[in-house]
Symmetry: C2
Subunit: 344 residues, 2 copies
């Protein structure tokens, strides 16, 4: 599916004057609403927004007054991913002479109303959202001001009508597990992400397919769901390592979970990779810094962010863009995996 | 020393009209220069800036048109600190209804000319710089537009005339070393930061004082200068551990260097903390996630960033502020340190 900012241009013929007339207000009031100004009474603003929406109004004077800003919205800045994503967007912004405005929405799903008002006032070149979805009302507000938006969605579950960038989770799970199979491991545990995220399920399916292709059974006892954090990784690994027939290798669904596996192994006097092989996921900088350095699945976070920002630029120039781009993942072999020692 | 935006208010009496007259241009041209507009010829802009500077012009109409933005400038977004600092500034910005504009200057010392033009156009509430110094010309431009600025300077070497926030490096070095002395260690190595940074020297002096207070000699062979990165920590630790009489404990000048020490120990089959105690510095999130979790000196990065942003707010309301604030550091004991085993 291809999408362009002009998708519905056939409808976008209403003028500011017509909106004003229909709403029974002055053109300057409509203009204030378009620019997110606060000095318009709420009922008036709601009415004007509704008319803009119903008539699929599209501002056509974008270039004249927009600010060289790209908005980047996180729901939380906690994750080790955040910096990689910021750097990717910052790089594209800088190359185009723009600055990045950073917002932490604080809520899981979408930035709040103060945020959208601020965006309308600032008139940025575009909006990149990380992991967030946009309420349809906010989408409409951005569309009518001709402010393009793209979602970076590593979780693999984007709105179908919003352009988004993700990565190939199933292939990542497959590559991690194949690597362990090739090292001679037969009992391979997995700690994937939360059960309600598509990326967790895709990685788990990749793991199962790799086992099945190697003619190995998938023992349900060896499958755990984690929370993508260190603590959860440590707890799930402890469960796996304390089984009567423990795994000789664990595929952790994130680098943070892999760090938790390393700690669970250390507490049991198991040496990695000598006694236990561990594969992470993400390849954030700390994967290189871990002791031993982690074999992991590289998720190209910075390129995903660059891709999202470049997608904005293409939307601005009204080129058609794909609504969903998935970048490839790849296995990075470091020192946390080794050949299985038979009969351990 | 106390500093206020009104320090030189006695001088700040020149009007826009007088500047225009002296420069031989229109008031609107002076106004364009003040707002960072590009449609003014460079010689004219330079002349107007010079007159503004010589007369210590101060804009008095700040509140009217400024944007609810706080500028945050890094010279590079590489460091594990960056996210902590961003979150601190973001928190204060959000509480005051402002958004954060993030810039990576790319150069070690100061943001470039495009940056200052952008700032003048955006008219932010203030500027927080990380590690950077400001050329005096840029300082003057910000002062004349009444845009306050504060430097977060964990390196401990700020310009004396710029408000800055740092932390107590000497005390941190003292606390880390005392902890190791109390655990019975007598041969304690240190990998401090680069030789040309004041924070490295302060931490080293804290180390020396702790040894001296315990009546222990400071063996110059046990002192190394690092680069604050993992790789350098690993290399310096390798040198220390390969000495004829190696240390039983190493105080690494940063958490990243401490991770390098862990890896050097692992490669020599030394268990931490059983065979070697390790103390980090900074207490960034990965210190908790390391295996074993790092005993480290907590540098309150997020609070330093909050402090800097709050300092901006005080400068805006023309309260006098201290030019230099140092926040306390504190030792966090986790699992990378243990009692010295005599006669190892």
């Amino acid at each position: 599916m291809l999408l362009s900012m002009r998708d519905d241009e056939g409808l976008g013929r209403i003028t500011l004057a017509q909106v004003a007339q229909e709403a029974g207000v002055s053109i300057s009031t409509v203009s204030k609403v378009l620019n997110g100004r606060r000095d318009v009474a709420t009922p008036t603003r709601v009415k004007v927004e509704r008319i803009l929406d119903e008539n699929a109004y599209r501002r056509t004077t974008r270039a004249a007054r927009e600010a060289p800003l790209i908005e980047l919205v996180f729901h939380e800045l906690e994750s080790v991913w955040a910096l990689e994503l910021i750097r990717g967007v910052e790089k594209v912004a800088k190359a185009s002479g723009a600055s990045v405005v950073l917002t932490e929405s604080g809520t899981r799903h979408a930035p709040g109303p103060e945020w959208i008002e601020g965006v309308l006032r600032r008139r940025p070149r575009g909006v990149v959202l990380v992991f967030s979805s946009l309420p349809s009302e906010v989408k409409q507000q951005l569309l009518s001001r001709t402010i393009p938006f793209v979602v970076i969605d590593p979780a693999g579950d984007p709105d179908p009508d919003v352009p988004s960038v993700g990565s190939a989770n199933w292939n990542g799970g497959l590559a991690a597990t194949r690597h362990l199979v090739q090292l001679g491991h037969r009992r391979i545990g997995i700690i994937t992400g939360p059960e309600d995220m598509l990326c967790s399920l895709a990685r788990l399916d990749g793991y199962r397919s790799a086992l099945s292709m190697a003619g190995l059974p998938a023992d349900p006892e060896l499958v755990r769901y984690g929370d993508f954090h260190v603590e959860g990784g440590r707890e799930r690994a402890a469960e796996l390592l304390d089984l009567d027939d423990p795994p000789t290798a664990i595929f952790a669904g994130s680098d943070l979970q892999a760090l938790g596996v390393l700690e669970a192994a250390r507490l049991r006097d198991l040496r990695v990779p000598h006694d236990l092989s561990v594969v992470g996921y993400d390849d954030v900088p700390l994967a290189r810094w871990s002791s031993p350095p982690l074999t992991t699945v590289h998720q190209p976070l910075r390129q995903m962010a660059e891709g999202a920002a470049q997608m904005l630029m293409r939307l601005r120039s009204e080129e058609p863009v794909a609504t969903r781009v998935e970048l490839a993942t790849s296995l990075v072999v470091r020192e946390s995996t080794a050949e299985c020692r038979q009969g351990r």
